[in-house]
Symmetry: C2
């Protein structure tokens, strides 16, 4: 059934990632973002497209970010300030700048601290949407470190037994390097499903599977259901686990953990208060050789990931995937053959480049 | 339906926590555990009983630990060695000593490091079962720190689309202090349910709800089912999320994260390899004032937890619980009125004290 949620590829035009990155960079610059920041933001967006996480790539997010730069919701030229710092920690005020830039800056600090003393952990307040969380976690990989990124989002998720949203979809991303295998990359909302999946279902006119959303009294709907009409881009969502019997208190609790480590620990706030901005982040880097031998770690990661992949599959499935494997495979394919963009998106790029007076270089 | 999984209280005898802790301490000493270690182990066990986590308290676990001390599976007098250390990290070889003791020792190190430089993170290899994971995370609370504890367990959980277990129930515990509210304490397996819940169902002869276990080919059973007969104390379990559509790849991925942060980062191994011991741990402490003002943090935690608790409940439920709230309420009640132990457990204590030649002081 989940196959339906993929937007069909047929009408897509393939665009080379370099061209897409270049055009996106120039568009960010035109929106007032300094060139060095524009480069980082474009790379984060295009990396999502490369990895098949289209929901967080150019087609879905670029126009939102550009609109927000224009409206002032996002500050294109933020003044990042370190509010508090210790040898292993920092709290960064990102001055409502692009989360696509603030999170990598925070991660750079975390990596530097981990290099110096083993572990680095940086919170970000006054934040904005950071795109694909695993982009930031994956920055640790080249440094032989484990990377972590969590971020809080608008209140759309019900607590277990609750009838109204109190938490964001609050994703957790963790990346760990291997030797010969693609790296382990976990990146998932703590809700049963990401909000944009429901938005896509609404757009495509398909039903939602049971266990995704509650009825208007907060009771989990466990049968297939037509996506309800809502003012927000998607309706309330159930926490991972769907019902108390199937462990929804775990998804709910994990969402709280993210809220605490990003929103509250950064001194910012938590998502549920209306009108209060809600994008707070926490990134961390753990230096592997602060704990154990790097080569031994990576070899054991290979063995672990292979063991997972070699698990005999259950009926109806041809293989078991390691976390991040599908995204890695998509990245290899799209690096070689280009990123598929829909005609509508191509058209938007042409129009936007025209309006901004910049060369259209996607073809 | 989950109410059935509580062992009925009717036949229970109430025992004061001080007496229970004292007797348990002496029993550990008689099993060869040094007095200072015995005190810690008894406190960890009795804290689980106080908080209503009976599965990890004296009735369920003490005899296992004592048996293992006797059989050599647990080394009662371990020689803890720090294998590697940086200002913010360490890797501790716990020499197959009681996890109930090794994890607090590791957490003490993490807290000391966090005091010094902001964050402390300690892995434990050559480990054994550490009891209730939140016991160790909660050690951070009195130091105005956030505490974390994760631990890997025997391979009983299926990866998404897999037909055989590849991961442990691998719990995650996180504790964060509040001001007037009870602290936030999250402690949950990354599987849909803890293994012992299934063991209890088997003992009580009740059915399992849908979404807990797969059939023998790995297909999730989504209807109520009789617990199957198994050689291990419980059958294979589904990851949190139960099915791919409801996000089981998230529970699966989180279980992998625990395996990596405890088993692989400590240089130990991961649970799936038969014959290889599988209890590896990671504990961490984050000093709140390394990021933000402590008083501000705690006040905001109060506000956050109150907001969760004041969520209008959905039909059939009288309230929404904050993570750790129920355990805190149980602890207050049991501190005042004693810990309920079943006649069978009381009888076991009498017999065991007799055999060990120690005074029986539970009454």
């Amino acid at each position: 059934m989940l196959e339906q949620f993929k937007i069909p590829d047929a009408s897509a035009v393939r665009v080379h990632h370099t061209a897409l990155r270049k055009t996106t960079t120039v568009m960010f610059e035109k929106a007032g973002v300094p060139p060095d920041h524009a480069l980082i933001a474009a790379d984060a967006l295009v990396r999502a497209d490369l990895r098949g996480v289209d929901s967080h790539g150019v087609s879905n997010m670029l126009r939102v970010y550009l609109d927000h730069c224009k409206s002032g919701e996002i500050n294109p030229r933020p003044n990042f300030k370190v509010l508090r710092e210790t040898p292993s920690t920092a709290n960064l005020d990102s001055d409502t700048g692009l989360g696509l830039v603030a999170a990598p800056k925070a991660m750079e600090m975390a990596i530097r601290k981990a290099k110096d003393i083993g572990v680095g952990m940086v919170t970000v307040c006054n934040g904005r949407h950071l795109g694909m969380a695993s982009y930031h976690a994956m920055m640790a990989l080249d440094h032989d470190m484990i990377g972590v990124c969590v971020t809080s989002a608008a209140s759309t998720v019900l607590p277990t037994f609750g009838s109204v949203p109190r938490l964001g979809t609050n994703p957790i991303a963790v990346a760990a390097p291997a030797k010969r295998e693609p790296p382990f990359v976990f990146d998932a909302a703590t809700s049963v499903v990401a909000g944009n999946k429901i938005a896509i279902a609404k757009r495509l006119g398909i039903n939602l599977p049971g266990g995704w959303i509650p009825d208007d009294k907060g009771v989990p709907i466990m049968e297939e259901v037509v996506p309800p009409t809502t003012t927000y881009s998607y309706p309330a969502i159930l926490p991972l686990g769907s019902t108390r019997e199937m462990g929804s208190h775990k998804g709910y609790g994990l969402a709280c953990v993210v809220e605490i480590l990003s929103g509250i620990l950064s001194g910012g706030g938590y998502g549920v208060v209306p009108g209060r901005p809600y994008f707070y982040h926490m990134v961390a880097a753990y230096r592997i050789d602060a704990f154990t031998d790097i080569d031994g770690f990576k070899s054991m990661m290979d063995e672990f990931l292979q063991t997972l992949k070699e698990t005999p599959p259950s009926p109806g499935h041809d293989r078991v995937l390691a976390p991040g494997q599908l995204e890695w495979e998509t990245e290899q394919e799209r690096l070689a053959n280009g990123i598929p963009l829909h005609e509508e998106v191509i058209q938007w790029f042409q129009d936007a480049c025209n309006k901004m007076g910049i060369p259209y270089i996607l073809e």
